[in-house]
Symmetry: C2
Subunit: 309 residues, 2 copies
């Protein structure tokens, strides 16, 4: 089974959207012009680093696409197309069928189209590059766009995926909910689009709340006062370990955003704090909340976000 | 040195083109609308599979970008931007400096802009996704666009890169010219743009002349009569081994194209044959030429193009 057979059997789909003049199968894809600003994102997942060896191929495909769609959500874009670079240790038709199923299930849910790719033989790795469009006249949400007085909102859970990682690393079985959060993260695309006119800054929580919020704080030159009561209500369990994972866990791909100064967090999201004038060295402070949350926060501050190197 | 430091030190460049609203450093890049059709291509290179372990990082970067630009050339597009997914076994500043130098030297030569990427730790691998624009009113060259009576033209050398591969695999030193062809292939972008109005089909020769010409033949449902005298004049050396590499070697990234029926190959390219009505099973025949070329052709027919699996 060569590269062309793999594409034909597992990745070729006869229907193509109107804006796609030429899809998979040539040296490149051809896309019709669009009057919208385009957002381009890209992410690589490696076996043993971003997912456990032996993970269901449906989950691997889902996650490889979901992390890119999550980046598009954080920019406020509507996804349009993606390319897939798939490196496989061997050709396993069952694995490819499951991978393809997981990939297209998520792609179809969000109306995003696979337009090209590359398959090579090597250690299991997936790189996806995705493009989305911004609504007319709506700028992308930037990490550097937060304003003092803006409220900090979040859509999606925090710490559940990290619980699954902790369980699996300890050789235990994770709960069904934690496994689902880790293996099938849901990109918050609808929320991202609804935030236009409300938010000025956003990012997705891939490296942990404190690390990713730190990116916004640094890029926007300000700090945050976190609301301990609001965060306590989001914790999966009421203990310091769960609180630590809430602050430092990552991998849930929740959507974090900061509203324009004076604009409230909408009721379909959770208000978890406020942007304040910059202060060093602790740009992010936790105010109030129960002692187990404070303990988890202190522990999380000692563990910076996921380091790629 | 974390991911952000790597980007800042080796991949961030202050200047950005007007069409780039937002470059590297956020969740995604933002691109202004364009009235042109966009061409999207992507390719992955793995150490030990697409380049020898220990290859100069300048050459690795050059090649990773060049193979993508070569695909854009084969579509008749002018390159605009690319994303870089870099998987590294370790952070080696000297290696990264050389990689960055090789990458931007080629990028600057062709005016193509790095807009985003991802770095992860793992076995050395580079995935690049690149986008180009088609000139207004000019369709992309497709593999399936060849017409009976069209002339077959080629821009760039054939077989030299494969000589370097053969030498290195045998533990010998390749000639300077062969090493240059293998390590620093030149994407034929200017030629690709000049072919608008002349060619109806094109592809780049990555897998070997017979394999890639076979793709055009299959997609266009026709065959080719190769001109033995013209091909003999292109051979690096006048023996059957060189002839075999000319037909089956690949990796030179020459630009192969078929003109509209009745249109001559321009004088800045080499005319090497003609598209003819389909015939099975030998869609590609060699007519004339010296016996060493015929011998190399027969050998090459027994060795199909580079198989990725």
């Amino acid at each position: 089974m060569n590269e062309f057979d793999i594409i034909q059997q597992f990745f070729h789909r006869p229907a193509k959207p109107e804006w796609l003049a030429l899809g998979i199968g040539d040296d490149g894809a051809v896309i019709e012009p669009s009057p919208a600003q385009q957002v381009i994102v890209t992410d690589t997942l490696l076996e043993g680093r971003h997912f456990f060896a032996g993970t269901d191929a449906r989950a691997i495909a889902h996650k490889a696409l979901a992390v890119n769609l999550s980046d598009l959500a954080a920019m406020g874009a509507k996804p349009r197309w993606f390319t897939l670079n798939l490196t496989l240790p061997k050709v396993d038709k069952n694995w490819l069928a499951a991978f393809s199923e997981g990939l297209f299930r998520l792609a179809d849910e969000h109306g995003v189209c696979l337009i090209g790719g590359d398959t090579t033989r090597g250690p299991l790795s997936i790189s996806i590059t995705a493009a989305g469009e911004l609504p007319t006249g709506r700028p992308a949400f930037l990490r550097g766009g937060a304003q003092v007085g803006g409220r900090l909102g979040i859509v999606g859970g925090l710490g559940l995926a990290a619980m699954a990682v902790a369980a699996r690393e300890a050789g235990n079985q994770a709960s069904a909910a934690a496994s689902q959060a880790l293996d099938f993260p849901q990109p918050q695309l609808a929320a991202g689009l609804r935030l236009h006119g409300i938010a000025t800054a956003a990012c997705d929580v891939s490296d942990g709340l404190l690390a990713d919020l730190g990116h916004i704080a640094q890029a926007s030159s300000l700090g945050f006062d976190l609301d301990g009561e609001a965060l306590a209500a989001l914790a999966v369990e009421q203990d310091s370990q769960a609180a630590k994972l809430l602050f430092a866990g990552g991998d849930d791909y929740a959507l974090l955003f900061v509203t324009s100064a004076g604009i409230a967090v909408p009721d379909w999201a959770n208000d978890i704090g406020v942007a304040v004038a910059a202060r060093e060295p602790n740009a992010i402070q936790l105010n109030g909340g129960p002692s187990w949350l404070q303990a988890g926060f202190a522990e999380a501050l000692d563990k910076p976000g996921f380091q790629h190197f």
